[in-house]
């Protein structure tokens, strides 16, 4: 039978941010303090950054920049909206934003899953390096810029210049794409793409949406080797 692990509650109205993060960093794989609740974040920056343990952290309110930055293993839920760079450079684990996310959501992320239940602003998934991102609303311009690997799923629309200078990341958009960036093209949805997308939708708690409603985008790979004759593409 699973023990009732101790719940830790940290009120940022009374506790310095530095103490919260230091406390989280002290937790290891075998920690008994696996459930954390953070109260009164009130837009603070760098909440629950650099966590490296399988903790469940509920942040009750909206956060500023870089919440859950460089996360490893933890499941962090923001019960509000997130400022710029939520889950930036995440390595593993899960980050869920119940509200909207500002710019650079999941920037340079190398693993794990980021779910934004609302909309994400510009540059969502910029330079992503293996992270999976599911946005249930729409995303802003220049999203997935120079995206290297991983998967970005958007149930709403995408703004201008989606996937500009993209490498090997996979993009799935259900709604409209305002424009595609340099070297980003529409691609065929094969069986493996339907399977990948279905798995991610399931993980993100999305039901009642068919993978056939999405279009796949990715790299044309024409700009992979510098060629002066491609200079007009930029």
């Amino acid at each position: 039978m699973v023990e009732h692990f101790k719940m830790r509650t940290v009120d940022l109205a009374a506790t310095p941010l530095r103490d919260l993060n230091a406390d989280l960093h002290r937790q290891g794989d075998g920690s008994n303090e696996t459930r954390w609740e953070v109260l009164n974040p009130r837009g603070a920056h760098a909440v629950a950054v650099g966590v490296d343990a399988p903790l469940a952290i509920d942040v009750r309110g909206s956060v500023g920049y870089y919440c859950a930055g460089m996360n490893k293993k933890a499941a962090i839920t923001v019960h509000g909206s997130a400022g710029p760079g939520v889950a930036e450079n995440m390595m593993s684990g899960t980050v869920v934003v119940k509200g909207d996310a500002s710019q650079y959501a999941g920037a340079t992320g190398r693993g794990g899953l980021l779910v934004v239940e609302g909309n994400a602003s510009s540059r969502c998934g910029i330079s992503m390096k293996g992270i999976d991102i599911v946005v249930k609303g729409s995303i802003g311009h220049m999203s997935a810029f120079m995206a290297q690997s991983g998967t970005l799923v958007v149930l709403g629309d995408a703004g201008d210049a989606l996937g500009d200078s993209i490498y090997e990341a996979r993009l799935f958009v259900r709604g409209k794409v305002k424009s595609l960036g340099a070297d980003c093209i529409e691609k065929e949805m094969r069986d493996e793409h339907h399977a990948l997308l279905a798995g991610l939708l399931d993980k993100a708690g999305v039901s009642g949406v068919a993978t056939t409603e999405f279009t796949r985008y990715g790299s044309a790979r024409k700009l992979y080797t510098f060629n002066i004759d491609n200079a007009d593409a930029y």
Partner: protein, 443 residues
Amino acid sequence: MTYHNPPTTPRKSWTFDDYTLSEIRRAAATGIYDIRGGGAKRRVPHFDDLLFLGASVSRYPLEGYREKCSTSVTLGTRFAKKPIELKIPITIAGMSFGALSAQAKEALGRGASIAGTSTTTGDGGMTPEERGQSKTLVYQYLPSRYGMNPDDLRKADAIEVVIGQGAKPGGGGMLLGQKISDRVAEMRNLPKGIDQRSACRHPDWTGPDDLEIKILELREITDWEKPIYVKIGATRPYYDVALAVKAGADVVVIDGMQGGTAATQEVFIEHVGIPTLACIRPAVQALQDLGMHRKVQLIVSGGIRTGADAAKALALGADAVSIGIAALVALGDNDPRHEAEYNALGTTAGSYDDWHEGRDQAGISTQDPELSQRLDPVLAGRRLANYLKVMTLEIQTVARAAGHNNVHNLEPEDLCALTLEAAAMARVPLAGTSWIPGVQGSL
């Protein structure tokens, strides 16, 4: 009688010199700008244009070999719980695994550790060889974020947020496909053999107010232990240094236009940014105006070659200097013993700068396994340590001659300038005069 009209000696144009003509022909033939490694090759006002005054009736010198002249420096005293202690005021600048071979990175670590100083990672992440051999390692936080991860961040002794570099302020980088080995590709999470672009600006922040929050995040991730450097290319040193301090930097690194790069357009290297000599006094002025000189440490790089150069930078207010190209030369780069092979590449020892092509005969700026094997990391590390020792002895020699028992007591009053330009940039008097051009009410 036949009138003889003597011919004049053929005269080449100063404006259209041989190099310029060859560049026009090269551009016409290829349709692409020239890419190369290294820093500015043009003559710009530099430390050679300054002289030390030495002791005189009004000052007395210290005895060489007898009287102590300390060289150690502590970096990161402003906020970091664990500042860095270096035995010498010379550090090794950031150079990536990818641009350099694993052997070269190991050699830099070995040499620096023997000498009691730090090395710095580059665009491409931290290698075990480098971490293993570097007693003190600075981890660069770059726009590309290639290989960035929190484990390496915590393994580092300091973090350097790179805004720019002197060779190409405002520019990103490109590692051409021929240098993308399996290992380099894996570290950067990109397909093998393609040209890899390094972004020119950070993906998740813009401007000094964001930088302050980014530094906060890095401090929180590392529990406020690590010194955080901010590295800038020399362009607007007064304002950039002031903004870096405002953003919370422990250390500011400023890199002049002679500072090297692994690969950038020639037009960038030679025409963007300002000389190292021109950036030090404005940088120091910014720190002084904020009451932060010696509290936020200043590291100067770009064309530092000798102990004399380093001593002059310290006298102008730097806390330490950083070397890149000079360190590679100490390892064996551009060595005349490879002359025949350099000739085969259409160049000559001392001029080889096509580092992006990965055919460095010295085994340093290459990923070719055969060429890389030419560099013995132990021997090359020893050579670097020797060179750093000589530089340090030279700094001490000059400092003692000026009457200082600590190299950080060198000051602008110990210097004079040989040229008007150097006098104006370094804000020291023209030799034999009391005139500092551009400074009202000179002594």
